[in-house]
Amino acid sequence: MNMKETWKKSGSILMTFLVAFLLLGFVSIVKPGYGSAANIKVLSISIAVLGLTALGQTLPILTGGMDLSIPWMFCIGGYLCAALTGGDNGKLLYAVPVVLFVGLLMGAFNGFGIAYVGIAPVIMTMASNIIFQGLLVGITEGTPGGSIPSGIKALASGGSGFVGWLFLFWLAVSVVAWLLLAKTSYGRKIYAVGNSETCALYSGIRVKLLKLSAYALCGMMAALAGMLYSGKVSQLYLGMGDTYQMASVSAVAIGGVSLVGGSGSYIGTMAGCFVIIILEGLLAAMNFSQGVQKIIYGIVLFLAVMISSRRKGAGNE
């Protein structure tokens, strides 16, 4: 009985990966050159950037919340790294920990508002997104200071054959994330809180602290992703994180993580990232207008969320 359910779950993740590769095959046929090593490498790097934000996003969503402030934590990550290093690779030694720590703090701010003050996650993170935007725009006056170190650029845009280095980096981080969620007591508690905060409390879990930590880790991942993204595109611009707001949520939803919390696996999120990036590539390759691309993208998200909430509904009865 339970074997069947386990199979059903991993089966749907396998299906998601399959869909991604079918899409990729399809575009490669429709658009010659799409399947080239150089292009696949670029795709793999895009998947990795989305993957890092979606990794973060998985945590709040598993607890039954959501983080919509990823865009500007992402931006701050990129700007902060450039400002701290001024392009000097040597200074990365302290700049990277500072970026991660600032991301952690921004996330903790979200988590504090949500867990301790009791603000609804969507409201809290939307508001903090604007606050972070204001901070960044206010401090930088819109122009990036410093420049992106070559080390970051090499990591985030380099690669060999079909894969970018960043993709491998993401895979390594993902192993840690998967272990964290599936194999540690911390992961158990995340699922517990997402299933029932009341029961989690009675089971001796510090629910508020745990929720705060989920948002803090999400903020850290967003800042890290932003820093690496700036290396990928070799530039900094305000609003560079905007697309990751919905894309991170979509990746999690497509991957089969319930948007009301408590069920789903990080492997699913990874599959979701593949689907989204390849789908974006497909839409661009088909020469659809920006508007049509957004509509199709929106419909896919809508379907993913619908299926995700159905799944939870069936689970309850």
Partner: protein, 507 residues
């Protein structure tokens, strides 16, 4: 064939049978009483009839036709009107508006015709002989008895063929109780069916024609109300069990050492200075009417609520800051609501049992699957859990097995002090017996148990000593000869002649 038939109705919630194969049949011209203990399934049965719940099995026949009642609107179409135990009115609307809500007449200009509404209300009042309510008064401002009358009239104004009165008399003023009984008779004489629920035997004897008795969600029988009606028989049908075989032998293993001592513990208005001593190896029952601070006391000792006053655990003063803190200090709580506080219904048995001790099961950074499996297996065996396997989902288990999982989860933390909140609610008889046996075994091992139950019978038959709570204080402490049902109930309602807190007696 009867005019109204509910045949073989079953309804389960999360695997707990609230109703199992229940049958009820009534005829026109009859006032039919439905009797049973709390939780016997009366309200569930009525909600099935009124369309609030959909039965899992069984059929409903209304006046010879099979009825599919999916919602209250369907029920109204079949002429079924239900006055619920929980009043549901809109406090800011007037009495007249509440009665005719959704059916307020309009003038030819399309606005509400309040003159006509008032007239309709007064006509309704006159028809049913009601004169103490002002139709224009805000519903929130009138007395409880008047609110109940308003609700009754609201249903009657729709001219139902089947009138259900769910504990409608409990909120009524004394003269209105007689009025309702007469009204029920009048409706029956006019060829309607009245289904009447009440806990007051006298009302049933005076006003009803037949009684159907439910017990633990099953049909226990139907009796005619006549001079031969034996009330003792009715009560034994309601309870339907031989107590002696069902409760454990009590062997008093209370020890000298005091495990838990409370000195003037207060929390808001719920706890107003609780003093008690709980000894090692003692099962101390907590009784009293509902809402006298018993639930708050257990939660406070589990760190859910902050308290003032002194709590001494094994002689040392402690503060319990959170459930996590409580577990670390060796306190375990079997909480009130199994499905909400006790279990993750959508997760497996293994997850549920291991979650409070998950940190102890971690070797290095990762949870040890082997240690976890051993722990889960051990406690599933201790409690004789019946399930497909350790990964079976909690929601798929019966109520009794769910309660065993909660128990297993708490025991797996190896607590030194156990707090139990109504551990036999919605649990089958067999499991109850096992639970009581387990409680006594824990006591024998020297563990102190604080055992709160709403069932007086349980308190008398499981505990070494019982304290009765009233108004957030300990009102009485009963042991040995004084530990009787009568004394517990007496102390609950303050009929023992004692008031306020009693000095905790020395054991």
């Amino acid at each position: 064939m009867a005019d109204l038939e509910l045949n073989h109705i079953s309804k389960a919630f999360n695997g707990n049978y609230a109703l199992s194969d229940v049958t009820l049949s009534c005829n026109r011209g009859e006032v039919h009483a439905l009797l049973g203990e709390n939780g016997a399934g009366k309200s569930t049965l009525l909600k099935v009839l009124a369309g609030a719940y959909h039965p899992d099995e069984g059929e409903i026949k209304v006046f010879g036709k099979t009825a599919v009642i999916k919602n209250p609107t369907d029920a109204m179409r079949y002429g079924i009107g239900c006055v619920y135990q929980e009043l549901s009115f809109i406090p800011d609307l007037s009495v007249a508006e509440n009665i005719f809500i959704g059916r307020i007449p309009k003038t030819k200009f399309g606005n509400f015709d309040y003159k006509k509404l008032r007239r309709m209300t007064l006509e309704l009042f006159e028809k049913y002989d009601v004169d103490e309510i002002d139709p224009d008064a805000k519903a929130g401002m009138i007395s409880l008895s008047q609110k109940q009358i308003m609700e009754i009239l609201k249903i009657l104004s729709k001219d139902p063929e089947i009138v259900i009165l769910d504990e409608a008399t409990s909120a009524l003023a004394e003269n209105r109780v007689q009025w309702l009984l007469r009204l029920a008779r009048k409706l029956a004489d006019a060829g309607k069916i009245v289904i009447f629920i009440s806990h007051r035997m006298a009302e049933i004897k005076d006003g009803c024609d037949r009684i159907t008795i439910l017990r633990n969600g099953t049909y226990a029988g139907t009796l005619p109300v006549d001079e031969n009606l034996d009330m003792d028989e009715v009560i034994s049908m309601m309870l339907g069990r031989k107590m002696s075989s069902y409760f454990p032998e009590i062997e008093d293993c209370t020890r000298e050492e005091v495990a838990l001592e409370l000195k003037n513990v207060t929390y808001g208005r719920a706890l107003r200075g609780v003093n008690l001593k709980l000894h090692k190896g003692e099962v101390l029952g907590i009784g009293g009417l509902a809402g006298q601070g018993q639930a708050e006391l257990l939660k406070a000792l589990y760190g859910v609520y902050p308290t003032e006053g002194e709590i001494l655990l094994n002689g040392k003063p402690i503060r319990i800051k959170s459930p996590k803190d409580a577990i670390q200090k060796g306190i375990g709580l079997v909480p009130e609501e199994r499905g909400i506080q006790g279990l993750f219904l959508n997760l497996g048995i293994d997850f549920n049992i291991s979650i409070p001790s998950i940190e102890k099961l971690t070797s290095g950074l990762l949870v040890s699957r082997r240690k976890e499996a051993e722990l889960v297996e051990k406690y599933m065996n201790v409690l004789a859990v019946k399930a497909a396997g350790p990964q079976a989902l909690a929601r798929e288990l019966s109520g009794g097995n769910q309660q065993k999982i909660v128990m297993a989860k708490i025991l797996s933390c190896e607590p030194e002090l156990l707090l139990m909140h109504d551990i036999t609610r919605g649990v089958d008889v067999g499991t109850k017996k096992e639970m009581f046996g387990l409680v006594r075994t824990l006591a024998k091992e020297g563990k102190p148990v604080l055992f709160f139950s709403t069932d007086v019978e349980e308190l008398v038959n499981v505990c070494d000593r019982v304290i009765v709570m009233r108004d957030g204080k300990v009102a009485a402490s009963l042991k040995l000869k004084t530990l009787t049902k009568e004394n517990i109930i007496g102390a609950s309602i303050g009929a023992d002649g004692k008031g306020g807190d009693t000095e905790d007696e020395k054991a």
